[in-house]
Each structure stands twice: as structure tokens, then as C-alpha cells.
């Protein structure tokens, strides 16, 4: 038997929990005769294997892994990569068809134009009708072969009883082609049949509809890109403490229960529980919360978040597929798979149009048969009706409107990545908003200054002067606040940050302390006078920071994530459209309700775990709602994918941007409202386009059915067909361009 045939495949392995499991899978597969390479990624649960197909089969591998106590399943490469290939192939076919359609149109329409275009004598329709017809036949056959997908898909759904746009194209062009073919064969006997050719009609319809589909297919969601970036968030290696020694090893080899060392400024490799030291951690990438979270002994840290100041030792709680990050990846993949395909408007219209046309064709044929006409005439009538039924502007109606709509969106800073998003947004009846970074700025700012002895500006000056070298976001917020008020800062020295509490620093020879309650207790600062106010502010979701000096607190600076000015207006506008607005946050109920009440959302869902956001969306969808999700964080990514329309805030994380169908470049919520309006306008435009596409051809229907035959012997002629086609195309394109002038404000 002939040689080697090495192939590479991927398998999803289920049931792996630790590094021993993945190495077991590697070991058993590597032992198989014919396997050249075998690697398991514990995080994704995927086995990549290279083997000789002549020696072993997929079944052998599955059985082998099964025997080792795991379940293996051949992993079918992501659809998206397929669609990339399909898109490239379609592109080639479209270009090929456009090139072929031009000479075809020249040959068959050239003689109908007011100024007759010259044709070589050997294919002139009067002298050599057969050459004239066969030349068209050859060009058309190639075009139809390129568009064979319409016939495969179209007839299939027609016979299943759900005719769609493809069915219409298949029936219309198919009958036009067959009719012309019969005419071509008859030419040697009846030369006047040369006037009854509809080749160009069939070819142009197929080409234009293909072009439209290609234009629509170009915009696509990049979820797989988002997933790749998500996986890169977690570091590849971790520093493990084994028998008192620090060893840096790949995270795949770390086991649950081991101790890992996390250095300041590095990303936390895996989920764990702090057993030694304290620090503050930036979890904003995962939870969306902008203010760093203090971590003390027994607190849990999430893999992928950034450690700020302290050195901590953590006991590993989850590895591989159990980590928070891996779960988010899994949820994104699930959400993507669960997305129901949307029904396109054009398909719906075709669903009604096709049976109607069939009925007209049958009735017309029966009527003429009853009236005593011969079978040839009856068939001509039947086919003519089908030929005129398929408008060539049909393929253009949706994509032209979507292209113009997308362009209009872009000029308003609304980046629409998929045409489908534009098509669904108008149906949205529930909007889910993430709080931090979407409704709010996502960055802390000074909101209130309280001091019983000093002026507000003086207290801010002291606080900002002390904090000017601080790297902590809260400190930076205070400095930012002073800058905004144009307050000059004093010189600072002896700055020291006290992890988990605050800072101390000297200005003008006086030592000041800024920080939380713990800091006051630690340094014996009397905060009794300010306690009530501080608690009040904390209830409103603000972070009060005590400023102390000489054993007592001299004031409080409150810092909080502020609401974007535009959010309130945007939410009001959405509600005016009859959309119910939900706010989703991981924050505590108190803060959430306070902010939710202020911006006027209908429902507040608080204390949502990072990986439960998608479930909230799914619940709403189960209630029959068409849900739009707007968010900016990594933890929003699965929800963005799950939602019918996912909108990412432009200032958000890359992963959110990749997961969303729409990106709001200006990070302004009012643009979400504009996007909904744009969608409504686009849908209206598509409907008008569909009307114009069908209108002229529908006018030709009675003619094809032979209504005028009784009066003056007139039947459908290619001239009328061509005229209807060009008129409908011009109207559709013109109407789509009109969309550009829509006002979105």
C-alpha cells in the first residue's frame, strides 16, 4: 500500500481535570503506531494530533482515549474559518460572473439600444441566429454553474415547503434558461425563435444576487479573534513554591492546592486564595470595576487580573478549564453556537411571492388550456410567468440599503460590523446596559469634598499635593480633580504608600495621612466627627477617603465613578421608543440602585457574578425579547455574543470590541439610540427597495399570463423583461442612496 499520508487533527477531550490527565492523554496517543505528534492543551481541552492516516483512523484514537478514561470527539474547525474560504471562493465566482455578464449583455442588448452596437457578422442574429444564441448559451452556462448554489439550496427549500429568496432565483432563472434552451434548439427549424431568448435575464439575476450576497457576507463577527485575545490574558507561566524553592513552570503543569508567588505588576496566572501577604488587584478587565480591590488573607484572586503593589502567595484553587477565564471562553463559544439565525426580510417576502407566482402560472396555464390552446402555447404562458417573476434587483435590495446604512452609521461614529446587526436592531425591545464604563465614565473622579474647618479647595490642595506621586487610581483621581479646578500643588516629600490603607506624605514640613478607616485606626486619627458623613457617602456608592493630620481627621474627599452626562438622555430616548432598559452590574445592590435610580433605568440587576451576565441575557431572550447588550469589559464579552445585538463601547477592552456586532466609537450611549433609529430607517428602506424590485416585474406578470394576448396578441417579450429589470435596479439603487440623508438625532 502506498506510503504515508500524514494529517493533523484536533479533538475535544472531556473529563480532564489536572496536568496528570493531560499528560496521560498525550502518553497513550503518542504510543499508537503512526502518531507523529500529540499535544494536549489543558486550558482549552483540545488535543492536537498529527498521524499517518494509513495506519490509524479517527475511531482508533477515540477508542484509545476512551479506554484511558476520557471522552474524545473530533473537533470540527470553527465555521468562521470555513466562511473565510467560502467568501474567497464567492469573490472569485462573482468577479468571474461580472466579467462574463458584460459580453453577454453586449451581445443580446446591443441591438435593442437606440444606437445599435456593432456585432461581428458571424454572430449577427439575422444572419447567423444559431451562433448568436449558442454564444449566449455558453456564457450563461458558465455563469449558472458559478451560481449553482442557488439551485441546490433554492429547490431544496422549495420542495420542503419553505420557499425563500434562493428558491425564487432558482425557479425564475431556471425557467428562463430552460425556455431559452428550447428556443435555441428550435432555431434551425424556426429562426424567429431567436427573438425569444432570456439568457441574459437568467445570467444577470444570478450575478446580481450573488454580488449582493457577497457584499453582505463580507462583514462578519470576529468572535474567534476575541476568544484568542482572552486566552492570551493569562500568563503562560507561574512561579510555584515547591519545597521552599521558587520555580517558574508553564501554568498547565500547576496543580490545584499548590502555592504560587505573585509579584507586583504581574498578571495573576490562575484563580487562587491568598495565604500570605496583602495587595490591591486591578480586576477591571474581568469584573468591569475600575477601583482596585484590596486582597487580604483568604480573599480570592482571579487569573488574568493585574496585581498592583504587594507580593502575595496564593493557593491555587482552579486550573485548566475550571478557571474563571476559561469559563468565560467557554461561555463565549456556547453563546456563539446558541445564536439563532435571523430570518431575512427578503426571504420572508419571497416566501409569500413564490407560491403566489406559482399559483398565477398554474391558473393562467389552465385557463388557456381550457380555452383550447395547444400545449406549446400553454407551456409558453406557464414559463413566461415564472421568468418575469424573479426581479434582478431582488439581490440588490438588502445589501445596498445595508451598505448605505453602515456608511451613515460610520459617519456618526457607529461602527457596524455585521449587516445582520443592522437588520435586527430595529426589533430590539430590551436593552441591557453594563454599569461601569458604559453608563458611567469607568474611571473614578472627585465627587464631594467635606471639611468642617478648611475650605474645599484647601483640602483638595492638601490631598492632591500628597497624592501627586501616587500610582493608585484613587490618588490619581484626586490629583485630576485638583487640576480641573486649577489648584496649584505643593511640593511633597517622604511619600509612602501603605498597601490596603492609603498613603502618608509630608508637605510644608507637616505629615498628612490619606486613606480609609483602617488607616485612621492604624495611625490614631480621630475620625468621629466625619464618620456619619463618610458612611452616608459610602451608601451612595462613593469611596470616602479621610485626610488626617496631627491625630485627627481634617476632612473627607469622596471619589466615585461618575455617570456620563449623555447616559441619562440616551436612556430616556430609548424608553421613549418603548424599549425596556436594564442595568447590569457586579456592584453591590446599594450603589447599583442609587445609580440606576439616577439614570432612570427600568430594572437593576446587581451583584451579578462576572460569568453570569450572559445568563441574564439568555433569560430575557427566553421571555421572547429581542435583546441588545451594551458593555465594555471582558466580563461583558459572553453577554455581547449572547445578545441579539452586542454593542461595545469604543473605549472598552479589545476583547469586548471584537465580541460586539457594533462598536460605539465615541463611547456615547446616545449613539446606541441612534443605531436603533438607523436600523429602523434601514429596514424601512429595505422594504421600499423590495417593493421597487418587485413592482415592475409584477406589472409584467399579467402580460406574461397572456392578459393582453386576447386584445392585441401581445405576449411577454425579452424587451419588456429587460426594461422591467433595468427600471427596478435603478429605482432600488436610487432609493438606497436616499437613506444617506436620514437624520439620526
Amino acid at each position: 500500500m502506498g506510503g504515508r499520508k500524514v494529517i493533523s487533527q484536533k479533538y475535544i477531550i472531556k473529563g480532564m481535570t489536572c496536568a496528570a490527565c493531560s499528560s496521560a492523554v498525550e502518553r497513550v496517543t503518542r504510543k499508537m503506531d503512526g502518531v507523529e505528534e500529540s499535544n494536549v492543551n489543558l486550558t482549552t481541552g483540545i488535543l492536537t494530533i498529527t498521524y499517518d492516516e494509513n495506519k490509524i483512523t479517527v475511531d482508533d484514537i477515540v477508542r484509545k482515549v476512551d479506554r484511558a478514561g476520557f471522552q474524545a470527539e473530533l473537533f470540527v474547525e470553527k465555521k468562521e474559518e470555513d466562511s473565510e474560504d467560502v467568501l474567497k471562493k464567492t469573490r472569485r465566482q462573482v468577479i468571474c460572473n461580472l466579467i462574463l455578464a458584460l459580453p453577454l449583455l453586449y451581445i443580446c442588448i446591443g441591438h435593442m439600444l437606440p444606437i445599435t452596437l456593432p456585432l461581428p457578422r458571424f454572430m449577427d442574429m439575422h444572419h447567423h441566429p444559431l451562433v448568436f444564441a449558442v454564444a449566449q448559451l455558453i456564457l450563461t452556462i458558465v455563469i449558472l454553474i458559478n451560481g449553482r448554489k442557488f439551485y441546490l439550496v433554492g429547490f431544496k427549500s422549495f420542495f420542503k415547503g419553505h420557499p425563500n429568496m434562493d428558491s425564487l432565483v432558482a425557479i425564475g432563472t431556471g425557467s428562463a434558461f430552460l425556455y431559452s434552451l428550447v428556443m435555441t434548439i428550435s432555431i434551425p427549424i424556426k429562426p424567429e425563435c431567436v427573438h425569444q431568448l432570456y439568457y441574459e435575464s437568467a445570467a444577470v439575476v444570478v450575478t446580481l444576487v450573488m454580488l449582493g450576497k457577497y457584499m453582505e457576507g463580507q462583514s462578519k463577527n470576529k468572535t474567534s479573534e476575541a476568544i484568542r485575545k482572552l486566552m492570551e490574558l493569562a500568563p503562560d507561566t507561574a512561579i510555584v513554591l515547591r519545597e521552599g524553592e521558587q520555580i517558574e513552570i508553564p501554568v498547565e503543569q500547576v496543580q490545584v492546592g499548590e502555592l504560587i508567588l505573585i509579584k507586583p505588576g504581574s498578571r495573576i496566572p490562575l484563580d487562587g486564595k491568598v495565604v500570605e501577604g496583602n495587595t490591591s488587584v486591578d480586576e477591571s478587565m474581568l469584573t468591569g470595576e475600575s477601583i482596585p480591590v484590596e486582597k487580604n488573607i483568604d480573599d480570592e484572586v482571579i487569573g488574568g487580573s493585574v496585581n498592583y503593589h504587594g507580593v502575595v502567595i496564593a493557593e491555587v484553587l482552579h486550573v485548566g478549564a475550571d478557571t474563571t477565564l476559561a469559563k468565560i471562553v467557554k461561555m463565549m463559544e456556547d453563546a456563539q453556537g446558541k445564536k439563532a439565525p435571523i430570518s431575512k426580510l427578503a426571504d420572508t417576502v419571497a416566501g409569500y411571492f413564490v407560491p403566489t407566482v406559482m399559483l398565477i402560472a398554474v391558473v393562467a396555464a389552465i385557463v388557456w388550456a381550457v380555452l383550447g390552446h395547444d400545449i406549446a402555447f400553454v407551456l409558453t404562458i406557464f414559463v413566461s410567468v415564472l421568468v418575469i417573476a424573479c426581479p434582478c434587483a431582488l439581490g440588490l435590495a438588502t445589501p445596498t440599503a445595508i451598505m448605505v446604512g453602515t456608511g451613515l452609521g460610520a459617519s456618526h461614529g457607529i461602527l457596524i460590523k455585521s449587516g445582520e446587526a443592522l437588520e435586527i436592531s430595529h426589533r430590539v425591545d430590551a436593552v441591557v446596559l453594563d454599569k461601569t464604563g458604559t453608563i458611567t465614565e469607568g474611571k473614578p473622579a472627585v465627587t464631594k469634598i467635606i471639611s468642617h474647618k478648611l475650605s474645599e479647595d484647601r483640602l483638595l490642595q492638601i490631598a492632591a499635593s500628597c497624592e501627586q506621586v501616587s500610582e493608585h487610581p484613587l490618588g490619581q483621581a484626586i490629583v485630576e480633580g485638583a487640576k480641573k479646578k486649577r489648584i496649584a500643588l505643593e511640593k511633597v516629600n517622604h511619600f509612602q504608600s501603605i498597601t490596603g490603607q492609603g498613603i502618608q506624605a509630608k508637605i510644608s514640613g507637616e505629615m498628612y495621612y490619606i486613606g480609609n478607616r483602617k488607616l485612621c485606626e492604624e495611625f490614631g486619627l480621630d475620625f468621629f466627627e466625619y464618620e456619619k458623613e463618610a458612611v452616608e457617602m459610602a451608601d451612595k456608592g462613593q469611596t470616602p477617603m479621610f485626610v488626617g493630620c496631627k491625630g485627627e481627621v481634617i476632612g473627607v474627599v469622596c471619589v466615585a465613578d461618575t455617570i456620563k452626562e449623555t447616559s441619562i438622555e440616551a436612556i430616556r430616548n430609548m424608553k421613549a421608543l418603548g424599549i425596556e432598559v436594564h442595568m447590569l452590574t457586579g456592584d453591590n445592590r446599594l450603589t447599583a440602585n442609587y445609580i440606576g435610580g439616577k439614570v432612570g433605568v427600568d430594572h437593576v440587576v446587581a451583584e451579578v457574578l462576572p460569568n453570569d451576565k450572559a445568563a441574564v441575557i439568555e433569560n430575557l431572550q427566553k421571555q421572547g425579547k429581542c435583546v441588545m447588550m451594551i458593555g465594555d469589559g471582558i466580563n461583558d464579552a459572553p453577554a455581547l455574543v449572547q445578545a441579539d445585538v452586542g454593542m461595545a463601547i469604543g473605549s472598552g477592552s479589545d476583547i469586548a470590541l471584537d465580541s460586539g456586532d457594533v462598536v460605539l466609537m465615541k463611547s456615547d450611549l446616545r449613539d446606541a439610540y441612534k443605531a436603533i433609529k438607523l436600523s429602523k430607517a434601514t429596514i424601512r428602506n429595505i422594504k421600499q427597495n423590495l417593493f421597487w424590485a418587485f413592482f415592475y416585474n409584477a406589472c409584467g406578470l399579467p402580460l406574461a399570463a397572456g392578459v393582453l394576448y386576447a386584445v392585441n396578441g401581445m405576449l411577454l417579450s425579452p424587451v419588456i423583461g429587460g426594461f422591467a429589470m433595468s427600471l427596478s435596479s435603478v429605482c432600488v439603487v436610487g432609493n438606497a442612496l436616499r437613506l444617506r440623508r436620514t437624520k439620526l438625532d
Partner: protein
Amino acid sequence: MAIIKVEDMHCEKCVARITKLFTEEGLDFSVDLANKAVTINGCEHCVKTALEALDDLGFEGVVE
């Protein structure tokens, strides 16, 4: 009775996998995760079967 050392046995999942396959093979055995060892009760032939089964599970067993 023979004791087979299985160094790569780390977690409960490993124990479960060994238990499943050994039961299928009809062996009389007990698994000890703490000592990373499997005890086989029975004949010479059983130890051979056990070692082959361990090999299929991706473990290396050493008879003590």
C-alpha cells in the same frame, strides 16, 4: 498480592479512571492515592493485566 507504584497518580480523577478500567478487566484491587500505589490481589497474570491496563491509561506502573 502485589503492590504497583503509580507515580503519576495525582488526583481523584486518576483514581476514578484506574478504578473504572480495572473493574472492567475484572481485577481484584484497591487504589491508594496518598501513597500513589495500587494493590492487586491475585495471580501473576493479574499483575500483567494491571500493568497493561495502566499503560492504556497513560500511567507507568512499577511493581514493588
